[in-house]
């Protein structure tokens, strides 16, 4: 384990951040339970096959590149081998934030977009954000489209009080009707689309206060 360096920025849990460490966040729906991880070099990084640190603890995993865009993740714990794709085609699909690299990872057939940033920098930003949040309060929720398609019907209007799970609108994509439901209880503050509107991924659909 790396010796404590009191002058280094720390993660929320107090773990020190190695200047070379990166923080990795998986972007996307339904992965809210998956916290960001910090991956850094282990203290004995000078030794080949060094065990990297994840969140301060060594992990028994290694990554072997196979050419430029392919790699194999090996997990020693269960002796599994996971080929993955790390496409470089898209010019680092911008995350919209400086210093944050968004990239695609394909592993076991699953496709993820991950954001990678300097863990030290992210820790500093977190500290600043926590300060700001203490001043404010949790704001309204913006609901964005997660699939492209056509809005078939809108069953709510501004001012409506909705409960979590209630159907808000129906989007037709690939000839299937997809119901969008309220992510939580609240009041409809604004409806940004009407029936018949063509929407793309990320378009604002409505605001829930």
């Amino acid at each position: 384990m790396e010796p404590q360096r009191p002058d280094l920025p720390v993660e929320p849990d107090g773990a020190p951040v190695d200047p070379r460490a990166v923080r990795v966040t998986v972007v996307g729906a339904d992965l809210g339970d998956l916290p960001a991880i910090v991956v850094g070099p282990a203290a004995d990084a000078g030794v080949p096959n060094a065990r990297p640190l994840q969140d301060g603890s060594p992990v028994d995993a290694s990554l072997e590149m196979v050419g430029r865009e392919r790699a194999v993740l090996r997990e020693d714990t269960d002796r599994t081998r996971h080929p993955l794709l790390l496409p470089t085609t898209e010019p680092a699909t911008s995350s919209g934030r400086p210093g944050v690299d968004r990239r695609e990872v394909i592993l076991d057939g699953w496709r993820f977009e991950v954001e990678v940033e300097s863990a030290a920098r992210a820790a500093l930003q977190d500290r600043a954000r926590r300060g700001r949040e203490q001043a404010g309060r949790s704001g309204p929720t913006q609901v964005h489209a997660i699939i492209p398609g056509v809005v078939v019907s809108v069953s709510i209007a501004p001012g409506d009080i909705v409960t979590a799970g209630q159907q808000l609108l129906v989007v037709e994509a690939m000839k299937m009707q997809n119901e969008l439901r309220a992510p939580r209880d609240g009041t409809i503050e604004r409806v940004a689309v009407g029936a018949g509107a063509t929407i793309d991924v990320g378009d604002l659909l409505l605001v829930l206060a």
């Binding site: 991956v39 070099p41 496409p87 690299d101 076991d108 699953w110 496709r111």
Partner: protein
């Protein structure tokens, strides 16, 4: 698209099986099935004409065809569903026949009629037979008339536009029993279908099912059918000729479905005895013969837990999953379709395949790779494909119209490839499927690949314990996705860590990489992937609290 427009269409070589049945055939479809049909045309020495929407101007089926005609904008109603435009395209290019593929206009009697009236040949059953068999309500009545038991339910369309008859339809529903299914009379693939568990939900289900059916098929008629669970979905491939002779080429098990859309199909259906196969094939032939089937169709049945077969419907077209029957029967079904369409009798190859239908050669499995997220209830994931590596090798067949860099448009069905395997028996076929899917690489959009890899490794699938409930009972998509997400996160971190290091210090920070050797070659990216990281690092170091 090299084509020589001919001056005169020569007459059909109806009676010479060695000559191509037509000189030029228009393929009224897109995607993998258009490619499949174009290939059959070319193998038979015929020219193929493609049609396309603006979303498909550069698609594989357009490039492979000898000529191509633009139909209109991307929306199906303005392109692939335009009967007049498709018929005009055939007339203007001198095509003699139109193959509709599946979906779009394939089961529209009005389309078959328009083709017939234009003096062209429709590659499929006659418009009259499509009326009889393609309309599920007609088909249910036809089956009843020849003593083939259909799934219990209604035989006439539900009166959705008659509020005064609501009470009557609810009463009928209660006699059938809940849960029941609202189904589109003109339907297929689960579109317009709604599962109803209580009477109070019925009116809304009828309305939304009818709306979806009208949007997908141009016909909003819906009816009620009892839900049989657990059931296996087993279907029989049929061919018929102009003399009225109908044969069965064998059955397929298509039980693995989500939202009533098939995900995995295999031939033969596992666990059936030869006698059961013969009996099932006979039921299918009886219904199709009564309806005057010509060309190709598929009779679908549900097999109840007690082994009873209930007739479900007949699809009067080439099925998506026809390939598994081709693999175990050795017959090219599209080739037979084109030959039958020219008025030729069932070929000797087809008759021989029918004789062997109850004892097929080996086992074939198909998986449908679709642009859907199996970790998110199979929600559609249209987008642009990045890398695209399809499997090959012994016993593997891939039917696709996709290439690296292609867009999967949101306007159409999200099937992007059919991966089929064929081996001596079912166990060997599953082994081959696992191997083939492990070779498959797709980036850019989420596909059903993780689901299929899971199926290929699952013990209950291998044991043949199949039912239409299988996916819901065995597949925990969110959990599988979460496990993979953790690994992807770790891998991305290791990759960034390694890439950020300067080449000179690479060996000092060989993060889990092999020391020395070729394995390290790609570890460090000299092109500067790590630049942002170094910049961020400098930035962070500058602001270190000291």
């Amino acid at each position: 698209m090299a084509t020589s427009r001919s001056d005169q269409a020569p007459s059909l070589h109806k009676d010479d099986p060695k000559r191509p049945p037509f000189r030029r055939v228009l393929v009224a479809n897109r995607g993998e099935i258009a490619v499949r049909i174009i290939r059959a045309c070319h193998e038979m020495g015929m020219e193929a004409v493609a049609v396309y929407s603006d979303a498909d101007a550069a698609a594989a089926h357009v490039r492979l065809a000898d000529a191509a005609v633009r139909l209109g904008p991307a929306a199906p109603s303005e392109s692939y569903l335009r009967i007049d435009a498709v018929v005009d395209a055939a007339l203007s290019t001198g095509a003699q026949a139109i193959h509709p593929g599946y979906g779009f206009l394939a089961e529209r009697a009005a389309f078959a009629r328009a083709v017939e009236e234009a003096g062209l040949v429709f590659v499929g059953p006659s418009s009259a037979a499509i009326d009889d068999l393609g309309d599920k309500l007609h088909a249910r009545r036809t089956a009843r008339a020849v003593g083939v038991e259909a799934v219990p339910g209604t035989l006439e369309p539900a009166p959705i536009d008659r509020p005064d008859q609501l009470a009557a339809i609810i009463e009928v529903a209660e006699r059938i029993g809940f849960p029941l299914l609202v189904k589109a009379a003109a339907g297929g693939g689960g579109r317009g279908m709604r599962r109803v568990t209580r009477a109070s939900d019925l009116p809304a289900a009828l309305a939304s099912g009818s709306h979806e059916a009208a949007s997908a098929f141009g016909d909003g008629s819906v009816y009620l059918e009892r839900e049989i669970v657990p059931a296996r979905h087993i279907e029989v491939q049929l061919l018929g000729d102009a003399t009225g002779r109908v044969i069965a080429l064998g059955e397929r098990d298509c039980s693995l479905q989500r939202r009533h859309q098939k995900l995995v199909e295999e031939a033969p259906a596992p666990g059936l005895s030869t006698d059961e196969r013969r009996r099932l094939h006979e039921l299918a032939v009886r219904v199709a013969t009564a309806a005057g089937l010509r060309n190709a169709a598929t009779a679908e049945f549900l097999r109840a837990p007690d082994g009873a077969f209930y007739f479900l419907e007949v699809n009067t077209r080439l099925q998506v999953e026809h390939g598994v029957t081709e693999l175990v029967s050795g017959l090219d079904i599209v080739r037979e379709q084109l030959s039958l369409a020219a008025g030729r009798p069932l070929s000797s190859a087809a008759l021989a395949a029918a004789d062997r239908a109850a004892e097929p050669a080996g086992h074939a499995i198909e998986v449908r790779l679709t642009a859907e997220d199996p970790g998110h209830d199979f929600a559609p994931t249209p987008g642009r494909i990045g890398q695209w590596v399809m499997p090959s090798g012994p016993g593997v067949r891939v039917d696709t119209g996709i290439e690296a860099g292609d867009r999967v448009p949101p306007e159409y069905d999200n099937l992007i490839a059919k991966v089929m395997v064929h081996a001596g028996d079912r166990d060997a076929a599953i082994d081959r499927l696992r191997r083939a899917l492990d070779e498959t690489e797709i980036s850019g959009v989420q596909t059903t690949l993780p689901f299929h890899r899971f199926v290929a490794r699952d013990a209950s699938f291998r044991a043949g314990r199949l039912s239409t409930e299988w996916v819901g009972e065995h597949w925990d998509g969110p959990a599988q996705r979460m496990t993979a997400a953790r690994r992807a996160q770790l891998a991305a971190g290791l990759h960034a860590l390694a890439a950020a290091e300067r080449p000179a210090t690479a060996s000092a920070l060989a993060v889990g990489a092999r020391a020395g050797g070729a394995g390290n070659a790609g570890l460090i990216d000299p092109s500067g992937d790590g630049r942002w990281h170094r910049a961020a690092l400098d930035d962070a170091v500058d602001r270190w609290p000291r």
